[in-house]
Structures are given as structure tokens and as C-alpha cells.
């Protein structure tokens, strides 16, 4: 029994689940409106978007790199999606394909440049952040696309009880990433490269293929998040993605990811997003200054890093 308990304590997700459970319980008791259908719907909507952003970063953290351009890719895909419908009158499936292609292309560019030049992904994605964001602003001249088809708007605002339909898209992606990282050869190779690049190369892993694949997946996840944001906001806002940076890192780090690579936890990342969503909601219910969430997120990242140091003193 104690051995089982000790094993639970050592997992990435158990402590987070307890923290989430305690927080939710405390809120449910102190604020009955927390459990109202509408409030749960609001939280799940926020969760659906954030979890894609977090996974987009997590895939890159797995190979031991960083992607500062997650938000910029999301924003560019969002305006490509909205713009192709408004300007060219493209049908929705074609617009989705355009947005996704933008995400895949941006990711492939990030991956190819980091791999073939051997440059630090930080500086590469800082440059591409400016390029993607710059192209976004250049095309839109900072004006949103308002003319979104009714079907997209309806989907973004639909409610099945307390469940937003966009949640199913996010859950499908979570499941896909889970299967990919756990079961597929490429997914295992991702972690191998992040853990020890040289050892992976010597074992016959094609580093270039893995690095580019990770960035392409990251781009696709960011693009999907961007398009979901369009459906939710009901307009193609050029500022979509501007505030994703902190949350994209906070969730994987809280979830126990090692920024040096080689270890990520999908369940931990998902719970990290759930905890951040809960904190956001708590601040609203408690009428706290909404900017306090930035302060709390910063503190939470530091706490998570300090805890992982305590758990695993290197």
C-alpha cells in the first residue's frame, strides 16, 4: 500500500490532480455559482483553447528546444482562415485547410532553419515570431476580418449543456498527441533526441527528420488553436496569439516537463492547463483584479521549477 502511494507521489500528475481537486472543492463550497452550467461551459471553452497552445509548446520542449513563435503561428493561421473566407469566399473546409497549411508551413520553416543551421531555436523562433507577426500585420493592416460565415460562428458559440463542441476537437488532439508520444516510433524518437541528442544520433535516429517533424506538429497545433479562437471570437482578430507565450510554457512546466528536453508529461500538461483555467476562473469569481493572473502564473512557474528541483536535485 505504501509502495503504491509512493509511486503515485512520484508521478507528474498525482500532485497536480490533488491540487486541482482541492481548488475546485474549495471554490464549489465558497461560491455555488462555480458549479453553474454556464460557468463550467466558460471554463471548458477556455480550457479547449489553452490545451492546444500548451501541447504546441510541449512537443518542442520534448526535443529540448523552445518555440517563441507559437502565438505568432496561431495568429497567422487565424487570419489566413478568416481572410480566405472573407476575401476569396472560400468554403469552410478549404479555409480550414488553408489555415492548417499555414501552420504546417511555419512549423516546417522553424524546424528546417533550426536543424540545417544548428542555431539555437530561441533566436530562430524569435526571428520567425517577428516575421509571422509582421506578415500578419502587413496583410491585415491591424484590422480584423469581420465577415465570418454563420456556420463557423454557430459552431464557436454552440453549447451542448455545459460542453462546448470545440472541446471535442481539443480532446481529439490531446488523444492523438498522447498516442503519438507513447506508441509511435517518431514520438519515442522525439523524446530520445530531447534526452540525449548524440546517443539518439548514434542509435540511428535521423535528427533532422525528428526536429522538423516536431516543429511541424507544433505548427499544426498552434494553427488549430488560432482557428478555434476565430470561431470563438466570431472574427479574425490579428491580435490572436499575442498573449499565448506565458501560458504555453507555464502549463508544460507546471506539468513536470524538463526544459532541457527528454521528459514531458501529457497528463501533467493537461492538468497544468486545468489548474491555470481554474485559477483564472477563481479570480473572476472572487472579483480579483484580472491582471493578478499574470502575477500568479509567474509565481506558479517559479514554484513548479523549485519543486522539481526539490524532487529531483541534480
Amino acid at each position: 500500500m505504501t509502495a503504491a502511494a509512493a509511486r503515485l507521489l512520484r508521478t507528474d500528475w498525482f500532485g497536480l490532480l490533488v491540487a486541482f481537486g482541492c481548488g475546485a472543492l474549495a471554490l464549489a463550497i465558497s461560491h455555488p455559482s462555480f458549479l453553474s452550467t454556464f460557468n463550467i461551459y466558460v471554463m471548458l471553452t477556455a480550457f479547449a483553447l489553452s490545451v492546444l497552445v500548451a501541447l504546441s509548446q510541449m512537443v518542442i520542449v520534448a526535443i529540448g528546444q523552445l518555440n517563441l513563435s507559437v502565438g505568432a503561428i496561431g495568429g497567422l493561421a487565424a487570419i489566413a482562415f478568416a481572410g480566405s473566407m472573407e476575401v476569396w469566399g472560400a468554403p469552410v473546409p478549404l479555409a480550414i485547410a488553408t489555415g492548417l497549411a499555414v501552420g504546417l508551413g511555419c512549423g516546417a520553416l522553424n524546424g528546417a532553419v533550426t536543424h540545417y543551421t544548428g542555431l539555437n531555436a530561441f533566436v530562430v523562433t524569435l526571428a520567425t515570431l517577428a516575421i509571422f507577426k509582421g506578415v500578419n500585420i502587413g496583410i491585415t493592416e491591424a484590422q480584423p476580418f469581420y465577415d465570418i460565415p454563420q456556420s463557423v460562428k454557430t459552431f464557436g458559440n454552440a453549447r451542448l449543456g455545459f460542453v462546448p463542441p470545440i472541446l471535442f476537437i481539443s480532446l481529439a488532439f490531446v488523444l492523438a498527441v498522447l498516442v503519438f508520444m507513447r506508441r509511435s516510433v517518431l514520438g519515442r524518437q522525439l523524446l530520445a533526441v530531447g534526452g540525449n541528442r548524440n546517443a539518439a544520433a548514434l542509435s540511428g535516429v535521423s535528427i533532422g527528420r525528428v526536429v522538423i517533424a516536431a516543429h511541424v506538429i507544433s505548427g499544426a497545433l498552434a494553427a488549430t488553436a488560432g482557428m478555434i479562437a476565430v470561431a470563438r471570437l466570431q472574427l479574425g482578430q490579428p491580435t490572436i496569439g499575442d498573449d499565448w507565450l506565458i501560458i504555453s510554457f507555464a502549463a508544460p512546466v507546471i506539468g513536470g516537463a524538463v526544459l532541457a528536453g527528454g521528459h514531458v508529461s501529457i497528463s501533467g500538461t493537461v492538468l497544468g492547463v486545468a489548474i491555470i483555467t481554474l485559477i483564472n476562473n477563481a479570480l473572476v469569481l472572487l472579483n480579483v483584479d484580472p491582471f493578478a493572473v499574470q502575477l500568479l502564473l509567474g509565481a506558479l512557474i517559479l514554484l513548479a521549477v523549485a519543486l522539481s528541483r526539490f524532487r529531483d536535485p541534480a
Binding site: 523552445l66 532553419v113 543551421t117 544548428g118 542555431l119 539555437n120 530561441f122 533566436v123 530562430v124 524569435l126 526571428a127 520567425t128 515570431l129 517577428a130 516575421i131 509571422f132 507577426k133 509582421g134 506578415v135 500585420i137 502587413g138 493592416e141 491591424a142 499575442d242 498573449d243 507565450l245 506565458i246 510554457f249 512546466v253 526544459l259 532541457a260 483584479d289 491582471f291 493578478a292 493572473v293 499574470q294 502575477l295 500568479l296 502564473l297 509567474g298 509565481a299 512557474i301 517559479l302 521549477v305 523549485a306 528541483r309 541534480a314
Partner: protein
């Protein structure tokens, strides 16, 4: 001109004359001058007195923002929180001037000291947690910025004394803004620090090879804390110049979480030849890097290429610069082999 841990690594056999011409700084200067001549020929607006004044004012600020990142890059770290620290320090300075009624100089000193203290916090956390400064400064940029917004209620201090805002309005010979001299003085002080002081040499040694430096008795942890507080102080100084230019201390002057400063902060030192891996920096290069970026973005604006496209151009320049630098290092290695 490049200040290196090992005295003269880039001199080589080609002789001092050739290496001076082939140096990064000379190249930057040449490109900047060529662009300036090109723009001056293409559009009369570029060399107009007002534009020279506006351009040098932007350059003065961007150079100090670049210095603020450079002094952390030399340790092999980085400071994502530079913009957030700059804004926080300016709000403290604005409060001191407008609400507490202190003089301009004491207020500025308080602001710079506050910035240095925030930077020192980054340094201490980095050392204590033994993690890369990326994750620490990512967390503190959110922390500092969030705290600042709550403390100020997102309200600006826009009744700053004329003695302060007047500092940004002075024009000197050829309509050059007086602020450029302030950033030059900062640059010279930094050059002296890294060239001629013990702590400066220790920082370079620790940045180049922390393990070897530690074995040679260099207090590596102390150099990291010193660099981060220096970075915070410089960010505060850049923030003060920006506030003087704007005529107000604005919480939004560096964008969401201070992220608008990230691109200029990295562009100037990276173009100037400061290595991201640490141990080598160039103060003059950073200044010239900022000059090149300022001239190109100002010229593009004057040409009305589309003010919305400037950011995309700057991103392309950064990408091209790092790729070319990589290529150059590759060629040098090949020639040696």
C-alpha cells in the same frame, strides 16, 4: 573591438589592417552608411532635420535596450524580462517625480536602482535554482508586469516635470538628439567595465567556460547576479529615456508584458557579434547593430514601403544575420582544418 575572454582570438595571420577591415563592426558601419546614403537619395524626408533628430532619439533608446540584453547574453543566459523591468522602473520613477515630488535626478536614480534590484532578483533566482535564466525571466516578466499593472491600476503618470521631459527635446549639432550622448557614455562605461576591471574580466571568463572559471577561482555565481542587476539597471535607463521622449510614464510603453522590447533587445547585440553562448561581447558592435536596425526601419517608413511591414523586415534581418554569422563561423573552421 570585440571583447573576448581570450585576448585576441580573431586577429589571425592576416595582419591587423585586414582584420580591422573584415571585422564585424566595420561591416556593420559600412552597411549602415550605405543604407543611409541610399535612403537619403531616395527620399528627401530621410535627411531632413526633424528625421535626423527622431532617428537619433530612437537609436539612443534601442542601443541601451541592446546593452541591457548584451550584458546577460555574455553569461550565456538571457533576460526576457528586460521590457517588464524597464516599465516597472519607469513607473517607480514617474511616481517619485509626480506623486512624491522628488527632483529629476533622485527620481532617476531610484528608478535605475529599482531596475537593478529587479534584475538582481532574476540573477539570484537563476543561481539559487540552478536553471537556465530563460525560465526564470519568463516567470518574472509575467510576475513583474502583473504586479506593476495592479499597483498602478494601469494608469499613466502624465504630469512629469518639464525638467525631465525637456531632456529628450534637446537638439545638438546637425540636429542630433542629445540622448545619443547619454547612450554613448553608457557604452564607454560598459567597454571600460569589460576591458579594464577585474569583475568585467571575471564575467567574460565565467561566460566562456563556467567550469574552468570556477576552478580558476572566479566567483561564477556572483558574476551572474552582477550581470542580471546590470541588465535591470540598463533596462531602467532605457525606459527613462523612452518616458522622457513620450513625455509620460506609460504602463503600455513596451507592449504586453514588455515583449515589444524583445526584438530590438536581441537584434542589436546579435548583429553586433555578441555570442548567444556567452563569453564574448562587443559594445561598439551592439551600438552599430542598433544603428543599422534604426536606419533601415526608419528608411522603410520614410519610403512608405508600408509601416505595417517593418516588423516582418526586422525579423528577416535577424534571421539573415544569425544564419550568415553561422556560415562565417563554419567557413573559418574549415579554413583552419
Amino acid at each position: 573591438m570585440t571583447t573576448d575572454a581570450t585576448a585576441r582570438r580573431r586577429g589571425g595571420a592576416a595582419g591587423p589592417g585586414f582584420s580591422a577591415l573584415a571585422s564585424n563592426e566595420a561591416g556593420l558601419l559600412l552597411i549602415t552608411v550605405l543604407f543611409a546614403l541610399l535612403f537619403a537619395n531616395l527620399t528627401p524626408g530621410f535627411s531632413s532635420p526633424f528625421n535626423v533628430y527622431a532617428l537619433t532619439r530612437v537609436l539612443a533608446i534601442d542601443a541601451v535596450i541592446g546593452f541591457s540584453m548584451m550584458v546577460v547574453l555574455v553569461t550565456g543566459g538571457l533576460n526576457l524580462a528586460a521590457g517588464a523591468i524597464g516599465v516597472c522602473a519607469v513607473m517607480v520613477g514617474g511616481w517619485a517625480m509626480q506623486v512624491a515630488g522628488l527632483g529629476v535626478l533622485p527620481s532617476a536614480l531610484i528608478a535605475v536602482a529599482f531596475g537593478a534590484a529587479l534584475g538582481a532578483t532574476n540573477g539570484l533566482l537563476t543561481v539559487a535554482m540552478r536553471v537556465h535564466s530563460f525560465v526564470v525571466t519568463l516567470a518574472t516578466m509575467s510576475l513583474f508586469f502583473g504586479a506593476m499593472i495592479i499597483a498602478t491600476g494601469a494608469e499613466a503618470f502624465n504630469a512629469l516635470p518639464a525638467a525631465f521631459t525637456g531632456l529628450a527635446k534637446l537638439r545638438t549639432v546637425f540636429f542630433v538628439s542629445s540622448m545619443i550622448y547619454a547612450s554613448m557614455v553608457v557604452g564607454v562605461l560598459l567597454w571600460l567595465l569589460f576591458r579594464h576591471t577585474l569583475i568585467g574580466r571575471q564575467i567574460l571568463a565565467a561566460g566562456a567556460n563556467p567550469a574552468a572559471a570556477r576552478l580558476s577561482g572566479v566567483p561564477v555565481e556572483r558574476t551572474i547576479v552582477v550581470c542580471h542587476s546590470l541588465s535591470g539597471g540598463l533596462a531602467a535607463f532605457a525606459g527613462l529615456m523612452l518616458a522622457a521622449r513620450n513625455g509620460a510614464a506609460l504602463p503600455s510603453m513596451a507592449g504586453q508584458l514588455g515583449m515589444d522590447w524583445l526584438l530590438p533587445a536581441f537584434l542589436a547585440p546579435v548583429l553586433g557579434g555578441t555570442l548567444l553562448t556567452g563569453g564574448s561581447l562587443s559594445v561598439l558592435g551592439t551600438f552599430l547593430g542598433a544603428a543599422m536596425v534604426t536606419v533601415i526601419s526608419n528608411g522603410l517608413l520614410q519610403l512608405r514601403v508600408g509601416e505595417f511591414w517593418v516588423q516582418a523586415f526586422l525579423g528577416l534581418i535577424l534571421l539573415a544575420a544569425v544564419v550568415l554569422d553561422r556560415l562565417r563561423a563554419h567557413l573559418i573552421e574549415r579554413r583552419r582544418a
